[in-house]
Subunit: 148 residues, 2 copies
């Protein structure tokens, strides 16, 4: 499949609509879609209102939206160095190299901006963990939680 | 050792000074203490300037500062429910039940505030992971990173 990666700021509506649908499948506390949608929009607006964000999209040769990566430049709370945190990377079709191209572009951007590393969270139930390891990512910490 | 747990807002200077020293040992990118100190202060100020934070401290019967827990009420970016994120929990002396008492107080506070869960990050190099598991915490996700 032919595609190219470019700045994603003009595709925010499509990115958010796509991510909202995908993320609904990962909810641990099932809630109705309407309620989820409201929370999702609130959270995204809150996240976007602060910090230095960057979006890239993959587009087909007809301009069709094929996937995105959402980065935030921040300070690591353990190492105190500038990092790029990947909030999200999603593709409409796997196995076409689209995710790899988006990740590569995100890493290049992070490096240009002076980040020392790229960081992201992967849920244990998410098979993408092995994919990130093949891309050179190593496990640094675990997120633990307790229902109260 | 006798101690009690109370609101920590009046002990912020001690909490920050203590955490700064402890956290210096966990740096992956070694930097001089002065430079670290500057970054640390900047990050802490940035974190405190936004969100809903809460501190508890453990005090000895003479009022001596023995440890603290630092919570932030936020929205989980995966589950879209209200959670309490523990930024930090530290004690001056282990094995006295101080950490357990601080964690318990943090969980009670989180529940009072309507949080569905308590979440925190534990570095893989940190032996505290087993301690959290004994306290009922389960592994939910991994933080992966790549130096660039």
């Amino acid at each position: 499949m032919e595609f190219y990666v470019t700045d994603g700021e003009d595709y925010l509506d499509e990115i958010i609509a796509f991510d909202k649908l995908v993320s609904y499948n990962f909810l641990k506390f099932p809630i109705p879609f309407d309620e989820y949608s409201e929370r999702y929009e609130k959270l995204i607006r809150e996240l976007l209102s602060r910090g230095e964000h960057k979006f890239f999209v993959a587009l087909g040769k007809n301009g069709k939206f094929l996937g995105h990566v959402w980065l935030c430049m921040t300070l690591d709370t353990v190492d105190y160095v500038k990092i790029a945190y990947i909030y999200d990377i999603e593709v409409k079709q796997k196995g076409e190299g689209i995710g790899s191209a988006l990740l590569k572009r995100a890493e290049e951007f992070a490096k240009e901006k002076g980040a020392k590393k790229v960081v992201l969270r992967v849920d244990l139930s998410n098979p993408a963990l092995e994919w990130y390891k093949r891309k050179g990512y190593t496990e640094r910490a675990v997120i633990v939680e307790k229902e109260i």
